[in-house]
Amino acid sequence: MTVESAQITALGDPTRRTIFELIADRPRSVAEITRQVQVSQSAVSQHLKVLRDSRLVRAEPKGASNVYHIDPHGLGQMRAWLDQFWSKTLAAYKVAVEQPPRKSK
């Protein structure tokens, strides 16, 4: 639910929505996106960060830059859930493994 509201917030900005629509049309680099919108490349990068943080798009390294793809919606939700699940699991694991060894389980 948190992810979904973050996604809605992310798409509330018209420029960000345009960027997202461009990526939904086909995967693009930051430079390609910048040529299509009326804002600077650093502004585009900021918008991409928000879209990425809310799991609407993902970045894939290609050469010196990233190519942005959409994250399918249903999958984005599951992926976000798994991300949190594994993050919590590994944090709790670190605590467990760093405890002094116990004589019995």
Binding site: F20, A24, H73, L75, L82, W86, V95, A96, E98
Partner: protein
């Protein structure tokens, strides 16, 4: 138009102050002790989570009433370096019985020093879960070339895309 949207794997890592053998042992033998408890498909609270330490084994939750939920299959078991498991839970939160529709998670243990271990987790092949987002993919690949969910978001804002 033939747009294939393949999802990025979930990747996480943690560095723990423990030798590799202990890092592996705790991860597998005590998995149930640190796995978040809200993760449970059983109708009752979990009494224990068991990680069977062999290829062909399972990870399963056992409920306080004796019911069991086998939600992962052990595909590789290579102490102290690596385990590979399936993830047999569908996007609809049910046990997936078709192995072709399950994703997989790999945990690698890398000794950074004799007393420090890096643990890398990768949960991949998420698109194999299939049906949960088939509609989305069809929407992306269809003639209209427009993701259904984007339309839905656009509707939320009351602006036709």
């Amino acid at each position: 138009m033939n747009t294939h949207v393949s999802p990025a794997p979930v990747r996480q890592s943690v560095v723990v102050e423990a030798p590799i053998e202990r890092a592996f042992k705790v991860f597998t033998e005590q998995f149930g002790s640190f796995k978040p408890s809200e993760h449970n498909l059983l109708a009752v609270p979990i009494a224990e989570t068991v990680f069977e330490p062999r290829v062909g084994g399972h990870v399963y939750d056992r409920g306080v009433d004796g019911s069991e939920c086998r939600w992962a299959r052990v595909l590789a078991y290579e102490p102290p370096n690596r385990v590979l498991l399936s993830w047999d839970i569908s996007p609809r939160w049910q046990i997936e019985t078709d192995p072709e529709k399950t994703s997989e998670w790999e945990v690698r243990f890398i000794a950074e020093t004799p007393h420090r271990t890096r643990v890398e987790l990768e949960h991949r092949k998420l698109d194999r879960h299939g049906d949960g987002w088939q509609g989305v993919r069809d929407g992306v690949a269809g003639d209209q070339g427009w993701p259904l969910y984007l339309q839905r978001y656009a509707n939320l804002f009351g602006r036709a895309a």
